[in-house]
């Protein structure tokens, strides 16, 4: 994927947003953050555009992970033969999908997953879902109390990576074109767009500055990265936090960049079954358990070590940036107070 600089920008009046989405929904499946009747905002497949309450200012509870790497996915079916097993691939037709209203954190997460699932080995199951998808991002004007994307370099505004990138300027969106599919959409539906003026671009810059000032947390991710690389994180910090991890897996399941999975075979009857891939988490003891109940990772003292070293050290080595995107979901779900922000803060205290 080649990134082109977002030099080209247009205006889309908010009044026209629904009309534009209606056109897109004719050719694509549409996924956007929708507030449901219980008040929760979730990325949802939209069947009825008029009934859906699209919510762009509140971060959705789920990320886009489930759409590209479902919580559980059937990879193949099998039948038992006298010689062994015959596996039959499962054909899945994934409709071309537009993901609309994606915040910079979640967008960065998809770009990270693209790397994980295509750099060394191409993962056909991920790629068939990712192929033909269009990402329409929206820059974030209202970070939530647990957000810290400013510290992970993945927000609150994004300069590249999406197909179209929207910025809320009050009564209108400034629309920057990123990659070719976005450009094509603008050209196809040019009636909805008007050229942007200097004052719009100034307003965009102003919005960026203001958004940066709205974070309620100062999380020094850089410091934690440096200490992990220098191997100066005190042993007792791992132990303190691991002791309090309650082993629910909520952090990994909600995390937009946790991509660990496990594969299991489920017997349906004596002659057949299916092979499933499902989310897994390195914090589970069973993730590393060996035969005879031996475990190289002692849950009580090191349950969270893999999680944080992977996100803040190993991925920095591999990709030049952490794979934590600062979305804050794990902060709000964590039972024990052992989330990544707590870790970073604890490491920073230790270095005082």
């Amino acid at each position: 994927m080649v990134h082109t600089a977002a030099t080209d920008s247009h205006l889309l009046k908010k009044d026209h947003l629904k009309g534009f989405l209606r056109k897109l929904a004719k050719e694509y499946r549409l996924v956007a953050p929708v507030r449901n009747r219980h008040g929760d905002v979730l990325f949802t497949v939209i069947d009825d555009l008029d009934a859906a309450e699209i919510e762009l200012s509140e971060p959705p509870q789920n990320s886009l992970k489930q759409f590209f790497l479902p919580q559980q996915e059937q990879l193949s079916t099998y039948t038992v033969t006298p010689e062994g097993y015959d596996f039959h691939p499962v054909q899945a037709t994934i409709p071309p999908t537009i993901y609309f209203g994606v915040h910079p954190c979640d967008l960065s997460a998809v770009l990270y997953m693209d790397v994980v699932f295509s750099r060394r080995q191409r993962d056909p199951f991920y790629l068939r879902r990712r192929h033909g998808s269009v990402l329409i991002g929206v820059n974030c004007n209202s970070p939530s109390p647990n957000c810290f994307c400013n510290a992970t370099g993945s927000g609150p505004f994004l300069e590249m990576g999406s197909d179209l990138q929207l910025t809320d300027l009050g009564d209108r969106f400034l629309v920057e074109t990123g990659r070719a599919p976005g450009q094509a959409l603008i050209e196809r539906w040019q009636g909805f767009f008007s050229p942007s003026a200097d004052k719009d671009r100034a307003a965009h810059y102003q919005a960026f500055l203001e958004a940066r000032g709205r974070f309620s947390r100062q999380v020094h991710v850089e410091q934690a990265i440096r200490q992990l690389e220098a191997d100066t994180v005190e042993e007792k910090i791992w132990q303190e936090l691991s002791l309090r991890c309650q082993d629910c897996g909520g952090c990994a399941y909600l995390c937009p960049t946790c991509t660990c999975f496990t594969i299991s075979d489920q017997r349906l009857d004596a002659a057949s079954g299916r092979r499933l891939r499902s989310w897994d988490a390195c914090t589970f003891a069973g993730f590393t358990a060996m035969a005879g109940d031996h475990n190289p990772v002692q849950a009580k003292t090191a349950a969270i070590r893999q999680r944080f070293t992977h996100k803040l050290r190993d991925d920095v080595r591999l990709n030049g940036r952490p794979s934590c995107v600062g979305c804050g979901r794990c902060v709000s779900i964590c039972f024990g107070g052992t989330d990544i922000v707590r870790f970073v803060e604890r490491v920073c205290q230790g270095s005082l």
Binding site: L243, Q246, S264, Q266, F284, A289, D293, F335, G336, G337
Partner: protein, 529 residues
């Protein structure tokens, strides 16, 4: 709970007794840990060194079954050090003198020695608890599953009243209930001596009210308790049973007796979501709908009534419990024709004063309502006993040490405690169907202290034989300092190692709750022949 779960987060001192909170009530433990982060002091009373005990400022590792002496010693310290709340005692309680006299006669050193906890630790715990402005006591089955369970709870109440730590926000006594709706089941009269809303069957006015509403006559004598029913023997007085969502063939003590009783019945019907060990003995099994397949309400530990909404239709022939009861009742000649669970709720509001203002249209908004909620305008009650106790004045019930029904002896030298683990739930009827949970732990383990393991020559993970006077099972040894020398611990989740074949059926004469927490056992190394 006299408090709401969220209030725990604001307490200054949290005293946890007989609760493995991080494993059994993680949502409550999360508030305890949050409170600790805000500076609260955490005191854990538990014979085992649980995770929560490791996170605690004070861990009082008492000998199992010595809760009363331990709490009495704490109360004596409060008295001696002037930490009793005299005004509260004067205004809100009665029978204080009896408690005071009992405490003053106490030999502190000897009492501490009985519990196995250093007196200095008991003193510190009493001081922390007594001096706090806001303090909660959370307790669980480690307190109640003893022959003196009722007295244990009364002694906890004595302590809270002595320190004046009740009837305020963020301050109180909080028993943690183990199931999503066990509070609701009790509230609705699933107790042998109560009609819904704790209206005693012995009371004629209450009976008459329900008789009018139901158009039927009600018995005045209380029914039988669980263990009386499941341990009646093959020729017991009960000839037929209908068991719903309960698996006594794994969960009740002295399983041999349970099996004998159930097999001896003339007729057994079981309603459950899976074919449990109990359902396998039934003549008729009703497939029930699970929580996600029905609508209605659950009442949790903090007395909060919350809506549960059907997410998926029940598979196959499964039906909601209420539909099964209604269909049965109709065939038995008493038609029940409730069209929706909202209609049932209207009857609950009509007949149960503490649920008086709870209707589905109100429950659907927000996070439900906490009882007592007397009428439609009542906002619900986050914490209990403001201004006065339900019975008027709080009655001090002094108690002294009652030893467990069975203690180790030369033949069975180890003390067995039973409990739960994080990844399995109760008899495993649901959790053992999950591959991921089974990967975490799919077999029973016997926690045993390294010294005892050494004496027996055990290796980590070795399969051992565990025997009591009532039976024997085999399971894997887990050598750990979590249990003290002379004690072993395991869980009751696994039918392959049904620990309740070994447990004692001694029970609390008040609550009829069996003593799952203490019995005498022997561990034997299995020698290949």
């Amino acid at each position: 709970m006299t408090n709401s779960i969220n209030e725990i987060e604001n307490a200054e001192v949290i005293l946890v007794s007989g609760s493995n909170t991080t494993e059994a009530h993680p949502q409550v433990a999360r508030r305890m840990l949050a409170a600790v982060d805000r500076g609260a002091r955490l005191i854990v009373i538990d014979p085992r060194r649980t995770r929560l005990a490791e996170c605690a400022h004070l861990h009082l590792a008492l000998r199992p079954g010595t809760d009363i002496p331990l709490l009495n010693a704490m109360m004596r310290v409060l008295l001696d050090e002037g930490l009793a709340d005299d005004l509260f005692i004067e205004m809100r309680t009665e029978n204080f003198l009896a408690l005071r006299d009992m405490l003053n006669r106490l030999d502190l050193e000897a009492t501490a020695a009985l519990t196995g906890v250093e007196l200095s630790l008991i003193r510190q715990a009493a001081q922390l608890y007594g001096r706090a402005r806001k303090a909660v006591i959370c307790y669980c089955l480690g307190v109640t599953q003893h022959v003196c369970g009722t007295e244990n709870v009364q002694t906890i109440a004595n302590l809270a009243m002595l320190a004046g730590h009740i009837e305020k926000e963020d301050t109180g006594v909080d028993p943690l209930r183990g199931q999503n709706n066990v509070q609701g089941a009790c509230d609705m009269g699933a107790l042998p001596n109560m009609l819904p809303s704790y209206q005693g069957v012995a009371n004629e006015d209450f009976r008459e009210k329900f008789e009018r509403a139901w158009g039927a006559s009600l018995p005045e004598a209380p029914g039988l308790t669980l263990v009386e029913m499941t341990h009646g023997g093959a020729q017991g007085p009960i000839r037929g049973m209908f068991i719903m969502g309960e698996n006594p063939m794994l969960s009740d003590p002295t399983l041999g007796k349970v099996e004998e009783t159930l097999r001896g019945l003339d007729f057994l019907a079981v309603s459950d979501i899976f074919l449990t060990e109990t359902a396998q003995l039934a003549q008729v099994v009703f497939p029930a709908a699970c929580f996600a397949e029905k609508s209605g309400s659950f009442t949790n530990s903090e007395r909060r009534v919350q809506m549960v909404r059907q997410a998926v239709p029940p598979p196959g022939e499964c039906r909601a419990d209420s539909e099964i009861i209604m269909a049965l009742s109709g065939r038995l000649g008493y038609p029940m024709e409730y069209e929706t669970s909202a209609e049932v709720m209207e009857e609950i509001a009509l007949l149960s004063p503490i649920y008086g203002g709870m209707y589905h249209d109100r429950l659907e908004r927000g996070w439900g309502l906490q009882w007592p909620c007397w009428d439609r305008d009542h906002p619900g009650t986050p914490f209990l006993h403001k201004y006065y106790f339900t019975r008027g004045r709080g009655h001090f019930m002094p108690a002294s040490h009652t030893p467990p029904g069975e203690l180790p002896d030369p033949e069975y030298p180890l003390l067995l405690m039973t409990g739960r683990m994080y990844h399995q739930y109760h008899t495993g009827t649901m959790t053992r169907k999950s591959e991921r949970l089974s990967r975490e732990c799919d077999h029973a383990v016997l926690q045993i202290n390294p010294e005892d393991a050494k004496t027996l020559g055990l290796r980590q993970g070795e399969t051992v034989r565990l025997l009591s006077r009532r039976g024997e099972i085999t399971l894997a040894a887990s050598i750990t300092g979590q249990v003290a020398c002379g004690m072993v611990y395991t869980t009751f989740h696994f039918h392959e190692a049904p620990i309740n074949q070994l447990t004692n059926d001694a029970f609390d004469t008040g609550s009829r709750c069996p003593e799952y927490k203490v019995c005498a056992v022997r561990v034997e190394k299995i020698v290949d022949s």
